[in-house]
Symmetry: C2
Subunit: 583 residues, 2 copies
């Protein structure tokens, strides 16, 4: 063993102890007669002292040669520091070094290994192994480990069985694009990497394994939006002989357990809201409910006056920004510019200041009386001192725009606190959504989702109105998990594939094995999956999943550290019976 202790554990109780430490040189200060070196490892930093009076000359000489990030091993005695550092766990002591071994030298790193580094994203990704030495990244990885362990512990204690499902499976054109893997042994054929273990977990239910979980990598060959990864990790779960209520309770329990064990926060029973309510009230199916600003619909009180813009709008809807009545013209203009940006796309914004004296001052004063504006305030739940912001137009688009504005205002007001956690369930999602491009319905969740039994009668007549037994868990404005009760009946599954535009042959070729399985005694079942990357980053109080992944890829799907993907040998291609077909 290269060390008797690590660099984070020595304190005043170890005084006079002979110790051996190993780690990296964080920095050194050479005062000529005395040299201090901060020695760093995963556990902390310990100060070393080399002193002309007390340390061998040869050791001093060697110490003078040390550069940043050199890997060294030292032996020495724990002594009390003259000037203590109360901000460090080891700040009361230092090590008077007697022996120094350089285990490995180091080139100067291309960025500073400090909590706040001077390295940009690109260089840090290329040298990710150096980035991981920095506390923020290292702590994120340790945090992720802790979350994973707690997830496993909770689910295992609840009787869930961790089952590994295969990674080399079959491509299905439905959904996102698959990554495929040419098979050498089966010429001209390909495996696909799983977008999720969906069908396998359903087959496990058919197989009687009534509580399954797995923390598993999934793959999607999508054009990467910011903060998406081609490979990502799911906490994948499924249960048999359950109804939606059972699943909600089980995974609410898991999330409550995590919040308590990881963050020390006790959360009450999660609120539940329907998809319709969420869309009407927050313009969004993943509302951030850490703050209010619920939508107030204003059609009744704002239309049929002289203001043509509102009169011609399908929807007039507003929110009350708390305490913003004193916004200057400039601040309000900034918000108007913000909603007019192409990314949001509103054509304008009306505002009403709710003055402290009970009066109102708005950008549409010439069309609306004080009494009218009072009704707006009631509808948006605005109080004296608030600022009502109103958008109008096509209902769906306006809701989306107002939702974006609501989040922006909350951010500006500091209402999106990273140490506050407001989970909820959104339920009763539509089964299907209409896709303009392909001119047909798509499964909103996936084709295995069960319609609500009472809505099945609508499937042929009004498919858009059929609600699903589908649910999302939302945390702080992010969907962190989603799932559904599944179809477990061959006939219904087959009707579903019809509805989604699969031919009988396609359905059979792609999912025949699942529909066959349903004929051999499939139990009622359902489940859900959490996005672990996202869950961990939110629990960690951050927004970027990349910071919680050891070796992430960039937006072109490249690992810039190892420089992958890369060309492969012609002999490899030949063995796989494929050749390049470059555009």
């Amino acid at each position: 063993m290269y060390r008797s202790h690590n660099c984070g554990e020595l304190n005043i109780s170890h005084i006079n102890k002979e110790v051996t430490l190993a780690g990296w040189v964080q920095k050194s200060r050479d005062k000529g007669f005395m040299i201090w070196v901060d020695l760093r490892d995963r556990y902390g930093i310990t100060q070393l002292i080399f002193d002309e009076q007390r340390t061998d000359k040869s050791v001093i000489e060697k110490a003078k040669s040390l550069g940043r990030e050199f890997v060294i091993q030292i032996k020495g005695t724990v002594i009390e520091r003259v000037s203590k550092n109360p901000n460090m766990a080891t700040g009361d002591v230092e090590i008077l070094v007697t022996e120094l071994t350089i285990l490995n030298e180091a080139q100067l790193p291309p960025f500073t290994i400090e909590d706040e580094t001077d390295g940009g994203e690109d260089i840090r990704m290329k040298y990710r192994y150096l980035d991981i030495r920095r506390n923020p990244v290292k702590n994120n990885l340790l945090f992720r480990h802790k979350v994973s362990m707690e997830v496993r512990k909770y689910l295992s204690d609840q009787g869930f069985c961790d089952v590994e499902t295969p990674y080399l499976i079959k491509s299905t054109p439905e959904g996102a694009r698959d990554f495929v893997v040419p098979s050498r042994m089966n010429e001209g054929q390909f495996y696909a990497l799983p977008q999720s273990p969906q069908t396998f977990k359903q087959l496990l239910m058919v197989g009687g394994m009534d509580k399954y979980f797995q923390i598993v990598k999934c793959f999607r060959d999508e054009d990467l939006r910011a903060d998406r990864q081609p490979e990502f990790t799911q906490i994948d779960c499924e249960m048999a002989f359950v109804e939606q209520e059972d699943i909600l309770n089980m995974f609410e329990g898991l999330t409550r357990h995590l919040l308590k064990e990881i963050k020390g926060i006790e959360v009450n029973k999660f609120p539940r809201m329907t998809y319709d309510y969420a869309m009407k009230t927050y313009g969004n199916d993943k509302p951030d409910i850490r703050f209010e600003m619920k939508f107030g619909e204003l059609n009744e009180v704002a239309q049929h006056k002289e203001f043509g813009v509102f009169n011609s709008a399908e929807l007039v809807v507003g929110i009350a920004a708390p305490g913003c009545a004193n916004y200057t013209r400039k601040e309000i203009d900034a918000l108007i510019d913000w909603v007019k940006r192409p990314q949001v796309g509103a054509s304008g914004m009306v505002y009403v200041k709710c003055e402290e004296d009970g009066t109102f001052k708005s950008s549409v004063d010439k069309f609306y009386a004080q009494d009218d504006l009072k009704k707006w305030a009631e509808a948006t739940n605005a109080k004296a001192g608030d600022l009502i912001l109103v958008l109008s137009g096509n209902a769906d688009k306006t809701r989306t725009q107002l939702s974006a504005l609501r989040m922006e205002v909350a951010t500006r007001l500091g209402l999106r606190k990273s140490d506050e956690f407001a989970p909820l369930w959104v339920v009763d999602f539509p089964l299907l959504e209409w896709d303009e491009e392909s001119g047909r319905y798509h499964a909103m969740h996936h084709p295995f989702t069960s319609p609500k039994p009472e809505d099945i009668k609508l499937i042929e007549t009004e498919p858009g109105k059929v609600r699903a037994n589908a649910y999302d868990m939302v945390l702080n404005g992010n969907e962190i998990g989603g799932g559904s009760i599944r179809i477990h009946d061959r006939e219904l599954q087959s009707r579903m594939f019809d509805l989604l535009g699969f031919s009988k042959e396609e359905a059979e070729a792609q999912f025949g094995f699942l529909m066959n399985a349903f004929e051999f005694g499939a139990p009622p079942h359902g489940g859900l999956a959490f996005g672990l990357d996202r869950l961990v980053s939110i629990l960690g109080g951050q927004e970027t999943i990349r910071d919680f992944i050891a070796f992430p890829k960039n937006n072109s799907g490249r690992d810039v550290m190892i420089d992958a993907p890369a060309k492969i040998d012609d002999t490899q291609l030949k063995e796989l019976s494929i050749k390049l077909d470059l555009k």
Copy 2:
């Protein structure tokens, strides 16, 4: 919730309780006035009773329609059985059914869902979801879960951090064949699926994460021997600032923990033997030491007599089969035939019976006196009643043959007991092995393995004699884990690549990122990986890893259940810029 209890938990303490159960019909017996149904779920079997006297006629009628593997839900009352079954956890009670709901009907399964099934391997793989309903398979999966959880618990408690490494990495021609994944976004380029996270775990060490583990899927596109899978699971571990001894102790601890927690067996400190000793003493680098039969080399005592076969042999070597002196001519001939099979390849076998009266009777009596044979008995540690079996010829081949014979004899004698566990470490492996085909040295473990410091001087002069800091853990004749201390120095790593026939350019293109990393302060490090599939099957007392994998592939790498791999669409190929190039 579809059930108040599961099918494994009701007993005499629940008498008169109203319960709801759900599960599969294991079997039913219809006596006309009474029907018994065995209801099965993951947890056990509970007997249901439908009785003309006490059950509604409509319920009886429905019960009569039940077929095997129907999924049903029942309500009823727990009553005491008239004839109890002490072999079942629930054998004291039965449920007098009042309500019966058929949740899903079932076709007759293609094989019986019993512990001993009538289904062959192929049909069971095609309907794996039915096979999983059988106790032996289900219990294997639950067992695997338990082992995984204990592994994670132990390592996490020891300060190891579970870090997920990427699955989409870069192909390296060294080692086994890679599975590759064409990149749509990077035309003409490919990812590779990892054969192991080797380089990433080393980079984590460079990154200061000094104890890493991961239970992770790995991929090898090999022609599949029996009981190999193209995707398999490793317990992958790495530590920094450690020497070989630290690693051996840590993972001996893990294995001891598993044996204790999973099997209730306390094992002493593991024996260690060098590779050379193992090869000489067992003819094998993964000796099964549950039994003796160590090799006795007989050159000194068997050569220079009249027996030409031995005189011309490089090696004459024997084992003493315990208590087999009374083997008949027929039994011995069977062993001779066995060693002469092409799979073993010996040209013949000499035997010596060690009679109870202290005399010897051999197949070579005319060449050897009793005193000669006595020396053979001493060399092979044979006792009265044993049968000495002797092979001769080329040293390496003969050792391999005798090793096979040793295992065969042990199997015939019932010495390979599945409930006995004899782990050991084999250490001091050679760094390199000569490959006749390519006419150059290959890394015996992998190119990152460190030579023993005292042997480095031999690298250029006698590379075949250089020993590595490499070690295998062996359990009951199987290598269950292996690892090494790694090179952490760019210069040595570069020499190693030279030795293995890499050009500078190849080494740089494939492993440049790792060698660069070594220049930024790489700590001394090493690790190992266990094969989880194998470990679990041995701990489970079985030989076949396939039985411990939920959805295994067959010997052609096919998943016959989902029928993968399969053809993919031309549009998919086009998007990936590849086309088929069939032979």
